[in-house]
Amino acid sequence: MSGSGDTKANGVIDCKALDAIRALQRPGKPDMLARIVGLFESETPKLVATILGALETGDTGALRDAAHALKSSSAYVGATALSTRSRELERLAREGNLPGCVVLADALEDDYEDAIAELAPLLERAA
């Protein structure tokens, strides 16, 4: 994915996105990065669960909305691969391509695991 950045060369998180969040931090205010990553950690499993549930019931509308939400939230934390995958999933859901969505969902879970793994230390450090 991202070949540049000052983090590990094989990392899935775009450090520029995180830098951008840090830049919004104002003195005396709660840690912005911690809040955003915290939200990502707490909200993303719900979205993934929604996506998987929707795949089983064939509810492409719910699938589309969840993918849409995940697309933005992952982009903000620099989870570029996850965001890209979410966008693709949103598109297929809108087209009603359920088999395509099933294939993508597997990869999306992997992307999610990778992203959380890389972001978790940040959260611990902040706490």
């Binding site: 912005m32 955003i36 939200l39 849409h68 939400a69 939230s73």
Partner: protein, 733 residues
Amino acid sequence: MDAPEQSSSALSGRAQRTRPLVLHVDDDAASLIMAEGALEAAGFDVLQAGDGAEALECFGEHDPDLIIMDAIMPVMDGFDAIERLRTLSNGAHVPILMITGLDDLDSITRAYDVGATDFLTKPINFFVLPYRVQYMLRAKRTADELRSSQAKLDNAQRIARLGHWEWRPEGGELSWSREFGRILGLGSEEQAGHWEAFIERVEDEDREELSAVMRRAVAESRPTSLEFRLGRAGGAPRAVRLEAEPYPGEGERCTHMLGTLQDITERTDAQAQIHNLAYFDLVTGLPNRAQLHEQLRLVLKASGRTSEEFALLFLDLDHFKQVNDTLGHDAGDELLQQVADRLLSVVRESDTIARPGREMAANESEHTGETEHTVARLGGDEFVVLLGRIERAEDAARVAQRIAAAIGESYTIGETEVAVTTTIGIALHPADGEDAETLLKHADVAMYHAKERGRNGYQFYSRGIHEKALQRFSMERELREGIEAGQLRLVYQPKVRLVDGTVCGAEALVRWEHPERGEISPAEFIPLAEETGLVLQIGQWVLREACAQRQLWTEAGKTPFPIAINCSAVQFTRGDVIGDIDEAIASSGLDPRWLEVELTESLLLQDIDSGIDALQRMKRLGIQIAIDDFGTGFSSLSYLKRLPVDKLKIDRSFVTDLASDSGDAAIVSAIVTLSSNLGLTVVAEGVENDEQFEILRGYGCHEAQGYLIGRPMAVGMFESWLARQEEPRRAVP
């Protein structure tokens, strides 16, 4: 989702806030948090909502300066929310920044359609966001100022009733301000159209002038102005003033004009009202002294051109002061109003009656009638009647009589019966004065003379005129009485054939046997009868009498020949002469071919088409028609063939000197030849000697009438004459 946060300054309204308040609507918490950080750092206060419905609630409560709106959200999406916001009174102009997906072109289009101000794509660049928000707020302020100055301009224009417009003469495009539209009675939405459509709204009389003035201004590239009237559907016309000038910087060639249009109706109405106050009497609404002088000036100017007579009647009310003193001033004013009404109606009725027989010529008149008659109140109980264009003094006297009679009738003022009389002085122009002051003074003097001789009467300023008018009035009265008393009778003058001297007709002529003055000739009383309209009665009597007499002769076995009667122009213009003829024939039982009507050619030629029409209707009754006094009038031979007539009567003036005047002889000869060719019978009038008789016979003239044959004779004498004529014939076989 997070509940909307409130910052302390958000509690006050838009105008009082020191930091602009931004409402951020998004279902993504991370996005809300980051945007809040970025915006607060840049000096904004931030409110947050998680969906469209929450946003509407929050907007109603806090009235934010700007809204950032995510597109896709649960409960109510951004598009619906914007649509609803725009319908709110304070939501119409609030800037809204829509957040859409980067690749979602449909959403961008939809965002603008529902009323978003601008858009930003996801993921949001939070460094850029505050700058974008700042820019939008600045643009909003500029738009607000523009709107406010537009509103101020609209208001100023509305208060001044002045609109502005711009016009491109070449294509005719016209654009205008709201007030311009209001003045024209257009809807406020309409702001542009075509010059021609505007011109069509201008009143007919003013349109051509406006077009010409504007054409000239464009051609010469210079400013112009004009006052005119605009017609409005379903409303009174508006008076407007238009100012125009070439667009600043226009060179020699003017392609663009701008200007103003002001509604000046109230101003012109006020001016008219001021004019009314200055020139009209408040109590009666009649022209006052100033207006009378103005009218006199006009009439004097006109009569200078045409040397026509007019009369000034000066009158006041006898015993008016008593009414005022006993019943009060309100009653006095009421009386003056009623007097004014009666004066006006008398004068109105007098308009045609004063000039009988002139209606036919009226359309040829160069006068417009505007300054014909005026009734004015000079003040107190004094009135003046200006009678324009009178024929003779008696016309004025007649009006004065009518005025005296009308004013002398009783009045009801409130519950009270009131009687007043009037005394009238008459001055004639030009006999009694040639300027307004002299005429008014002399009319006033005449009124005082009248009062000396007893109130409730009239008096001419000139004694001679007064006597003459009185004489004519007594003659009129006597004639009226004479007609009723049977003092009229007919005499008959025979006509004979020139070839054999046999009787071929008789002309019935009217005589008035006055009990004291003896027989009065028609030349004396017919002009008076025509003026007074009595000629209508006389004409009917003559017709009935002549028809009845002819029928008696027929029944007595007398030789059948037509009996001719004369018809006056007045009978044509004011009477129903055809109806009268029809009735006389019917009541007598006469075969209509034995009735002949003589008409002068001048009567027919006044209006040739209606003349022909009348003749044709007469012919349909089966009677004979003769042209009387032929040769004395216009004598248009070309008309002869168009007129359905049977006979021509050559005027006596050509016959008198027939033997000595070769010119007359030539005329008579020509008339006879031509008429014979047209199939007309020719009658020579005034044949007094054998020489004339022989010459006429030589020309081939058909009939003769004159003292040589027989004078006009009463019935008995005529019958004896007839008997003598027929004797030899009876002896022959």
